[in-house]
Amino acid sequence: MTDISCGHCLHPSPSRFWNQEQGARCLVCGSKVRVVTFPAIERAQAGALPEALGEESEASCFYHPRSRAAVPCAECGRFLCRLCDLEVGGRHVCPACFETGGPAPAPRNLETRRTMYDTVALALATLPALLIWPALLTGPVTLFLIFRWWHKPGSIVPRTRIRFYLAALFGLVQTGGVGFLIWLVAVRGSR
């Protein structure tokens, strides 16, 4: 268990101070600390140990050939002993698939990072426009990227598509503006 400690000076908080509605003063720095504990703090933290192979014919762990396989990895199918078995959201995965997301796209509850394509598109549509000339290029590029990224997964948490719509609007305006300028220059040049 990690030390339950003061958030200011990291001095361990004695258990007699836990679960007091008004909190208690830290014995070292005097900061008021409220500690709320939950039943898991009492749970035994013994990890599961792998079982040794009984017979040669038994399936063994991919990572520990002398340990009995307990479960296959839901991502790559490798046999895993109890030591290598990581249960995430009811699925059993091996450490390698847990780290990389596995051969298949990472399950939603394993993802640790997502790119916000709508924000990228919106920044591309607005920031270069301040300098006018880059907009010659970024307007059409924004429209292309919105088309390309429209179905990419966005944030895991609720988030509207307003940035995509705004980026498309700015991209269209820029592209239209550039087109109009080119037409204007062409018409004047022909006179």
């Binding site: 990690t2 958030g7 900061s31 600390v33 898991a40 703090i41 009492e42 990072r113 920044a123 609720p158």
Partner: protein, 108 residues
């Protein structure tokens, strides 16, 4: 598709991004955004051992979440009111996840 996440806190903004807490049926999600990307940390409700709220000198607070193997600063919980609302929201969820075990009583 309806999201499984319910907002727990507002956004704690920094110069380059923000962080925010969300509640799912079986875990708390800490989102750390750099605007162009989001990084996610999940804390299973069944694994949460304690929450500490430490008052800071200027009326704010610092909230930490403890599990058996980690101690994580919850930056979005930065005021006494936010801490109170946060604890009120996650208390029942953690109780439901850890239900059968009894919480330790404060000793005299």
């Amino acid at each position: 598709m309806e999201s499984i996440y319910r907002r727990l806190t507002g956004r704690k903004r920094t110069l380059l991004g923000y962080s925010q807490l969300w509640l799912a049926p079986d875990h708390i999600l800490l989102v750390k955004s750099t605007r162009f990307a989001e990084n996610y940390q999940r804390f299973a409700l069944a694994d949460i051992q304690a929450i500490t709220v430490t008052e800071t000198p200027l009326g704010g607070c610092r909230c930490h979440l403890h599990t058996a193997v980690s101690r994580e600063l919850l930056a979005p919980v930065a005021s006494a009111r936010a801490a109170r609302d946060f604890l009120a929201a996650i208390g029942p969820a953690i109780a439901a996840a850890q239900g059968s075990l009894s919480a330790p009583e404060p000793s005299a």
